[in-house]
């Protein structure tokens, strides 16, 4: 977090910024074209004239010296992605401090208290379906909140400039898993970042998964949060990250029995298969949602075996008596 502030300080200490080396704003057909034209017409969004670049040119108005500088990567916004995000219609200053309107950006602006999701979406019936309040409650119970004394915010995982819930629906489950895990690995897969965030020592904060059978396959096919959160049935994506020693380590929690995750995955894969390949190919002949061992309940299968065994035993005893009685019957007749 301190690093973030440092990079902000550097960025906003420049005297004058002029466009150079911006993200290429390519012409796209249809809706994208409309969005790009809006970008050009919107003066307030001229922040992106500089903040869409990896390289910018600064000029000292007193000495006239001009030089090129690299923009800190986290302060660069890709307009193409931003204008396809859910927050695309907002002006920069709707969320950022008014002070950023002027150049150079004043020191006070850098002390802005950033909005979080609840500030806009909390207790709003229009967003009730997303259950932001429950997500917030889960976050406050999560290790991310309790272990960082609230330093951790929504934006450390979610990018407000790029957030797009529809992308989740449109992409394949593999892509979704990759994107979800990318969010965690941005910090947890980076020894440098974790080393700076925590003073517990890398061996305690970096993920360890050697105990998992088929580690690579698991990490490709399972989201980190599937094991590292406390799952509930009410929130779509669980946000209560649990301490590492409370994470799921029991195979049958996912691969067997009464698991909500199992049910949710079954439904998702089944529907995805059907939508992609149709009912015949996706459900009848190539039903990937049904995994081996999924319905194996020891109690029910054992009870079934016992009852079937007793039925056969009864039939066997009956047939033995019939064989004994048959000659007697014949004799009597």
């Amino acid at each position: 977090m301190d690093l973030n502030k440092l990079s902000f300080s550097f960025l906003f200490s420049v005297l004058l910024i002029s466009p150079a080396g911006a993200f290429p704003l390519q012409e796209k057909p249809g809706e994208e074209k409309k969005q790009l034209s809006l970008y050009a017409a919107d003066n307030e969004k001229n922040c992106l004239v500089c903040h869409s670049k990896l390289v910018y040119t600064i000029t000292d108005t007193v000495s006239g010296v001009t030089m090129k500088r690299m923009m800190s990567e986290q302060n660069v916004i890709n307009p193409d992605i931003f204008y396809n995000s859910v927050h695309w219609s907002f002006n920069c200053l709707d969320c950022h401090a008014e002070g950023f309107k002027s150049f150079p950006h004043p020191l006070e602006a850098r002390f802005e208290i950033g909005w979080n999701c609840l500030d806009c979406h909390g207790n709003d019936p229009n967003y009730a379906q997303y259950k932001f309040e429950e997500i917030d409650a889960e976050y406050h119970r999560s290790i991310h909140y309790t272990a960082t004394e609230g330093m951790f915010t929504c934006w450390d995982c979610h990018n407000a400039h790029y957030y797009n819930p529809l992308a989740r629906q449109d992409s394949s489950s593999r892509d979704q898993i990759f994107k979800s895990n990318e969010m965690c690995l941005r910090c947890h897969g980076n020894r440098d970042i974790m080393g700076m965030i925590s003073d517990k020592g890398l061996d305690k904060v970096l993920p360890k998964h050697e105990w998992l059978p088929n580690v690579e396959r698991h990490l490709e096919a399972v989201r980190c949060i599937d094991c590292h959160t406390r799952m509930t049935d009410s929130v779509l994506v669980a946000h209560e990250i649990v301490p590492a020693d409370s994470a799921v380590k029991n195979c049958t929690d996912c691969h067997n029995k009464n698991s909500i995750l199992m049910g949710t995955l079954y439904k998702y894969v089944s529907k995805e298969n059907r939508d992609e390949k149709g009912f015949v190919n996706g459900v009848i002949f190539n039903n990937d949602s049904y995994v081996i061992g999924a319905n194996h309940s020891k109690f029910i299968t054992l009870t079934g075996k016992i009852v079937i065994g007793m039925t056969l035993a009864f039939a066997l005893v009956h047939i033995i008596f019939r064989m004994i009685i048959k000659p007697i019957k014949r004799y009597n007749e």
């Binding site: 049935d233 029995k257 009464n258 698991s259 909500i260 199992m262 049910g263 949710t264 079954y266 439904k267 089944s270 529907k271 009912f279 459900v283 009848i284 002949f285 190539n286 039903n287 949602s289 049904y290 081996i292 061992g293 999924a294 319905n295 194996h296 309940s297 029910i300 299968t301 009870t303 079934g304 009852v307 079937i308 039925t311 056969l312 039939a315 009956h318 047939i319 008596f321 019939r322 009685i325 019957k329 009597n332």
Partner: protein, 206 residues
């Protein structure tokens, strides 16, 4: 002197053979799905078992629908109408006959005649299987193919898990029914007479 009664018209025999074949496929593949593991695919292997199970289940739904229509619009339906009055007594008499009277050489309490092709125990068990267990198997089986209609959670259980386990329990009941059905079929006039009946259509009284 035994009499013969034409109790199994062509459509019943065709339906019965289709029903039997599909049920066998479903039971074998069902067990394969339940007990196979990556190293041991049992009879057909897990993946193939799922496909065969799905196809057989769909075909059985079709054949069951034909059976329902047949029972609605032909005289065969009357054999599945259970007279509630005195049912307990009739079931007891038939059960007593199977476990005791049969060996004592007593006469069957409810022999086959022109009006009755099932004895009370057969009638109640067939009605239970055809009008209760099979429809529930179809509902749970189709639900597993359209799982978005299944409740996410019921009480403290996953809806998918409950539906799946219910389907398995019903499957076990059908297996038990099949064994009893096959065994009781050997208790006709001779051990094979009832099997001949379902092929020729003519049932022999005993």
């Amino acid at each position: 002197m035994s009499k013969n009664f034409y109790h199994y018209p062509v459509w019943v025999r065709l339906w019965h053979v289709m029903n039997a074949i599909l049920c066998l496929f479903l039971i074998v593949t069902g067990f394969s799905m339940l007990y196979s593991n990556p190293d041991n695919g049992l009879v057909v292997g897990f993946k193939r078992a799922v496909s065969i199970h799905n196809v057989s289940g769909i075909l059985l739904t079709v054949s069951y629908t034909l059976f329902l229509f047949g029972n609605l619009f032909t005289a065969n339906g009357k054999h599945y109408l259970v007279a509630m009055k005195g049912t307990g007594k009739r079931l007891w008499q038939q059960g007593y006959y199977y476990v005791y009277g049969y060996f004592k050489g007593q006469k069957a309490p409810y022999p086959v005649d022109g009006e009755h092709k099932f004895n009370p125990l057969q009638q109640v068990s067939y009605v239970g299987v055809m009008y209760l267990i099979l429809p529930m198997l179809f509902i749970t089986g189709w639900a597993m193919m359209f799982p978005e209609f299944i409740l996410k959670k019921f009480l403290r259980f996953s809806g998918i898990f409950l539906t799946d386990q219910f389907h398995v329990i019903l499957g076990f009941l059908v297996v038990i029914f099949l064994f009893i059905h096959l065994y009781v079929s050997t208790m006709g006039k001779s051990a094979l007479s009832n099997f001949r009946s379902i092929i020729t259509g003519w049932q022999e009284s005993h």
